[in-house]
């Protein structure tokens, strides 16, 4: 049965080393950083592409962010997502309430235009602000069932059987579509974009909507770096044979 799938992603800085902040402590200093989406969202994109390959239908990627977030939309299209929607902001941060409301507005506008989604996917949490709630809020407003933290999805006959990991094993659930699922890395192993995929994505049109900002009630004052305790490293050795020194450490820590 063909399906319409929507994947929501967020443009975030590709941090790896130590984070540094802008002088006003409002943002991460991104002068030397690239941008990406979270690993969870990469898996959501891959899953959407696979679903359409298997079941037919169409896939759409959506983001709320500045004009530059077009890059992340094109990255998703290079992997096989067909359409892209940018909810264009002036670059300031939107809190989870405002973000969810803007996404709901876009989904409802799509529905009014004759495109309703069988499945809306999010990452379990964004890589940067990590509010753990946008997907749940979107589901709540649209009155759809929602399962978070998914690591396996099977679609069959208008239902989704999902699985997620717990400390002691797994939990499973089955929901009727339409539904909202938030997923975690490990759901699949995302493919790399092909060169033809990249070229095709470059030419595609991005649909743009200007969303309505609202005060969601969680308002950033400033960012700060956690205090790092003074730290000393003991070098056990360089190259050569350090087996005995390491065994001594294991014995000191009572591991041997």
């Amino acid at each position: 049965m063909p399906m319409n799938v929507l994947v929501c992603v967020k443009r975030v800085p590709a941090t790896a080393g130590q984070i540094t902040l802008t002088p006003d402590a409002q943002e991460i200093d991104t002068r030397y950083l690239g941008f990406t989406i979270s690993p969870h969202e990469e898996c959501a994109v891959e899953e959407a592409v696979r679903m359409i390959e298997t079941h037919g239908g169409s896939s759409t990627v959506l983001t709320l962010g500045p004009e530059a977030a077009v890059d992340q939309l094109r990255d998703a299209m290079a992997l096989g997502i067909e359409r892209a929607i940018l909810l264009e902001t002036d670059g300031r941060e939107w809190d989870p309430v405002a973000t969810a409301a803007a996404i709901v507005e876009a989904i409802e506008a799509e529905r009014a235009a004759g495109r309703s989604y069988d499945l809306v996917m999010f990452g379990n949490e964004s890589a940067d602000s990590a509010g753990y709630q946008v997907g749940v809020r979107v589901a709540g407003t649209l009155d759809l069932p929602c399962v978070t933290g998914i690591k396996a999805i099977e679609i069959d006959q208008g239902r989704a059987a999902v699985r997620r990991q717990t400390e002691s094993g797994w939990e499973t659930a089955e929901v009727a579509l339409p539904a909202v699922l938030t997923v975690k890395e490990g759901l699949n192993l995302p493919r790399y974009p092909s060169l033809p995929g990249r070229l095709k994505a470059k030419k595609k049109e991005i649909e743009r909507i200007t969303p309505h900002w609202q005060d969601g009630g969680l308002e950033k004052i400033r960012l700060k770096l956690p205090v790092q305790a003074e730290h000393k490293v003991e070098i056990l050795g360089k190259n050569g044979d350090v087996g005995a020194e390491m065994v001594e450490v294991f014995q000191r820590l009572r591991l041997l």
Partner: protein, 335 residues
């Protein structure tokens, strides 16, 4: 009134729930308001004993058999109804997978903001909270508004502290009016058969491998060291993306958080997303060819060198030490 949503297993509140109670009791003292708790699911009443050490006035228990199974929307509906009834000004829960999920549903249902993974909470008309971003690599100070303040507490933001002065805890059972719709999602647990393998999250020693291990086959030396020390093997995100190891082995922000006595990081550079996953390790030993790698600076012990050469040497040394020990035992005179 402050309402703490506690999670419990067979009547014993989880460690994260005790941390929530500790924070909630402090808030209640600061704001000069009473503290109540709510437990949902089987055996909730058994949690009462422990709550006597956390200034809890009343433990609320939901009376609806359908709540025995975990249904996030139904649990949130239950808490929303109770929060209304007791006129709660704050609802606080854990940031566990389940706690965070229920609190997000609660926020959606009550159309209120939610501050997730808080480490500090300063009450006021608007609360000033400090919350974790980037898995804790960055903190945000924020204003939290709303007629009821909804928060989850980051794991281990404080130490759970039972008060020496025990107080009486009343229990009250209530019957929430739930819709069938609240039960559209029910999670059925599947306990995995014990594979005999030590789990990453529980292991006392974790041997983690990164790109510097060289190949999927290169993990054999890590497996060998894990066997010798009774530990588990983990890996960095690069290794998972290369397909060398399954995602279940990944340590980090989007993988498993580990808390071993010793983490041996082999050929791992130490991206912040990886360090978030091993921050709770008591000691870190880094093996890396690059003495300037971020992980070396954050480690307690470091060996500068090639992973395979270093591990082959240490594995041989452990085997030698072990066989020497056995020889001594077998050669010890009887009696």
């Amino acid at each position: 009134m402050i309402l703490a949503f506690i999670e419990q297993v067979d009547g014993a509140p989880t460690l994260l729930s005790l941390e929530v109670l500790t924070m909630a009791a402090r808030l209640a003292r600061n704001m000069d308001v009473p503290l109540d708790a709510v437990a949902i699911g089987p055996n909730g009443a058994a949690a009462r004993g422990i709550l006597t050490s956390y200034r809890v006035g009343t433990l609320h228990l939901a009376d609806d058999l359908r709540l025995a199974a975990y249904a996030p929307a139904a649990w949130a509906h239950t808490i929303a109804e109770l929060a209304d009834r007791i006129n709660a000004k704050v609802v606080i829960g854990t940031a566990s997978d389940r706690g965070g999920e229920v609190m997000a549903h609660l926020a959606a249902r009550m159309t209120l903001p939610l501050a997730a993974n808080c480490t500090e909470i300063v009450p006021g008309d608007a609360f000033i909270v400090t919350r974790q971003r980037w898995g804790g690599s960055l903190l945000e100070e924020a204003h939290l508004k709303g007629r009821v303040k909804l928060l989850t507490l980051a794991p281990h933001a404080l130490t759970a502290e039972a008060s020496p002065n025990r107080t009486e805890v009343a229990t009250q059972t209530f019957a929430p009016v739930l819709d069938d719709k609240d039960f559209r999602v029910r999670l059925i647990p599947q306990v995995e058969a014990d594979s005999g393998k030590i789990s990453l999250a529980q292991a006392r020693v974790v041997i983690g491998g990164g790109r510097g291990v060289g190949s999927a086959e290169g993990f054999a030396t890590l497996e060998e060291l894990a066997d010798l020390l009774g530990g588990a093997v983990g890996c960095s995100r690069v290794v998972t993306s290369l397909g060398w190891r399954p995602h279940a082995d990944q340590v980090g922000q989007t993988g498993t958080r580990i808390a071993p006595d010793l983490y041996i990081a082999c050929g791992i550079s130490g991206a912040i997303q990886h360090m978030v996953g091993c921050r709770a390790a008591k000691h870190i030993l880094a093996i890396n060819t690059d003495p300037t790698a971020p992980i070396v600076k954050q480690a307690d012990y470091a060996v500068i060198g090639d992973v395979q050469k270093v591990l082959s040497a240490v594995n041989a040394e452990i085997r030698r030490a072990k066989s020497g020990h056995e020889r001594m035992v077998t050669e010890a005179p009887a009696g």
